[in-house]
Symmetry: C2
Subunit: 379 residues, 2 copies
């Protein structure tokens, strides 16, 4: 049966307009913006059962369910569909779940590919640099729109987990549970370095045109493709790649040339080409920069515990053994800062081979822990 | 005093012509080729004290000493100068040391930027794909040129270590000691993946012109720059980058843009720009492909021990704790295969923070072990 009995089924996005100005950390202002969202389940009368799901680098609002009008509906599932549905760990019989495309995104929310009302051309590189704190402030208005005073939980993986943490720092009274998966308290120099290579690939593509490629009728596909190939290398683990591809050849023997010889080359090119076909280059730049800038301890002289001092949420922190992008050691830094405040925190280090991407996988122990965490939330 | 008392001092390269055809593993043939070399110390009468130093990805024949006619002679030292000289671990009072630029290189030996006598234009992408076995065969002729029947030792780090090992497999009677540092028995899927991203950066640069950019008066600098930035990320360790750069800002505060904010961004751009200014793009492609193809066990159904069965050399294998490109575990695979043959092998796992680049550093324990290894060699 399709969709499965425990799926949220067919879903539709909606776009919500916000008409009062939003000023960014950089000082820039947007006079108005849209956020595109999807919701699953029903908001209860007390409006106390809402869960916000924040997305990572290339994510969006389509977190669960399917699109009936997709070319192949069965392949249109949301990026965290395995987690969300009636009877799934994040149970939509209990919770009202909101997925949101971040400001600066390229899936419906106002972003670089939106027409700037002031100039009547697409924002391009005129779109403000967005930080995690900016996103949280834009999402607070989303909560207001739905009449949600406090989220039962805010959940995210990677950059999404950073947003969930930032919510509890900036608006402690508006979130009761934070679930931050495969995240870090800030990027390392190596993390920033990988982001910078990806950005330079895009920005030095002759088709980038300083971020205003839309008017030239081109897309910096070469740069986007390289960014995504590199991204995939850092999301996966050496072990998983070994298992998945090893040194398997595409053909029977070496062809002695630069066309793909090894399966891994074919895989990376495929992923790169696919991504370059739909993702906005300026959005990719903004998302990686938001990662670089995230550092809640910065305003507290580098003291992460001080950053969390006023938060009142209960925390669920999880990390994966094979994740070398944001390793379990990075999550433990978060846990230590929370414990220093005597906050209520649970931590799980999950065995996995899928690297950073593990947070998207239905790993039984991981999903069982998420289920227990959500079951324990009073609404 | 410059040069230092234990330096080989001022040196000069020489270029040696080989006029009989060389057929490559791919089946391609070069009718003639040049190899550019430097030598340090004196070949003894028995010609038994010769040491060949093989280079890695972006190396060359200028291994030790200085160039008197360089713009700044004090900054012209060879890439492994700290190792080689009268009184240094590889002591030129005892040994005759040869540094060679590999075939396909861009520092004097015949390579893609050489004029092809058949077409009177630069080879460019018409230059044959070169493998480690091809290099070894070209270097055998170099030994013949010097009248060296058997090398006292062949030494190399990374791709250079792979050449040293291949010598002992293909020409066991011509090498008595193999010193392979920070090497691996073959690349992992992840290793190949990083190479492929670098290659795609070069090959999709519009200035690459399918490898014949020379005729267009341009250089695919964007691609070379990205390759080198990415390379540096994989040569260093997360820890070293943390120590060296952390999240240090270039300016006093965030500027909210895409110009370098963090020291690591500035460093990577600098390294990329520098490399793009002198290295040949086709050579970079060839060197990475030689790495991908290296797999001496392949001809033995994946049995590495069988590949080493006929070798008679004594082996010195070393790896570095912080090297995540070719980790100590990869060196241990080599050691196991050698031990399975009851070959004479010593192995050192050296504590370091410099990542893969450690093999170039004068780490005291590492250099002491190399000194002991060379001291123990009878000539």
């Amino acid at each position: 049966m399709f969709p499965a009995f425990d799926s949220v089924g067919y879903v539709s996005p909606q776009t919500i307009a916000f008409d009062s100005p939003l000023t960014f950390a950089s000082g820039a202002t947007l006079n108005r913006y849209d956020l595109t969202v999807e919701t699953y389940g029903e908001l209860n009368a007390a409006r106390s059962n809402a869960v916000l799901v924040c997305h990572a680098l290339s994510g969006h609002h389509h977190v669960a369910g399917f699109y009936q009008d997709a070319p192949d509906p069965a392949k249109s599932e949301g990026w965290w569909d395995n987690l969300i549905g009636p009877g799934r760990p994040l149970d939509t019989r209990k919770f009202f779940v909101i997925g949101v495309n971040n400001l600066g995104g390229c899936h419906g929310s106002t972003g670089p590919s939106t027409i700037n009302p002031d100039t009547q051309r697409r924002y391009g590189s005129d779109f403000p640099i967005v930080t995690v704190t900016d996103w949280v402030r834009s999402q607070v208005r989303l909560a207001d729109h739905f009449g949600i005073e406090s989220f039962a939980a805010i959940l995210g993986g990677s950059l999404g987990g950073m947003q969930a943490m930032q919510w509890s720092i900036d608006f402690p009274e508006r979130v009761r549970n934070v679930l931050a998966i495969a995240a870090a308290p800030k990027l390392s120099a190596e993390n920033i370095g990988f982001n910078e290579v990806a950005r330079q690939a895009i920005r030095t593509d002759p088709d980038f045109h300083d971020g205003h490629f839309y008017q030239h009728g081109v897309v910096p596909k070469r740069g986007l493709r390289l960014s995504r190939m590199l991204g995939h290398l850092t999301y996966l683990s050496d072990d998983l790649m070994g298992e998945k591809f090893g040194r398997s050849l595409k053909g029977a023997d070496y062809k002695f040339g630069f066309e793909p010889e090894f399966e891994v080359e074919k895989y990376l090119r495929y992923q790169g080409d696919k991504f370059a076909g739909y993702f906005d280059a300026n959005t990719y730049l903004l998302m990686t920069r938001a990662l670089d800038y995230f550092d809640p301890a910065q305003a507290f002289d580098g003291n992460l515990a001080a950053a969390f001092a006023n938060s009142t949420a209960k925390y669920f922190i999880a990390a994966f053994t094979s994740d070398w992008r944001f390793s379990p050691a990075r999550s433990k830094e978060i846990v230590s800062a929370l414990l220093a405040n005597k906050h209520d925190v649970s931590f799980a280090e999950i065995e996995s081979v899928e690297g950073h991407d593990s947070f998207l996988m239905p790993i039984p122990q991981y999903h069982a822990l998420l289920r227990a965490a959500f079951d324990g939330i009073k609404v």
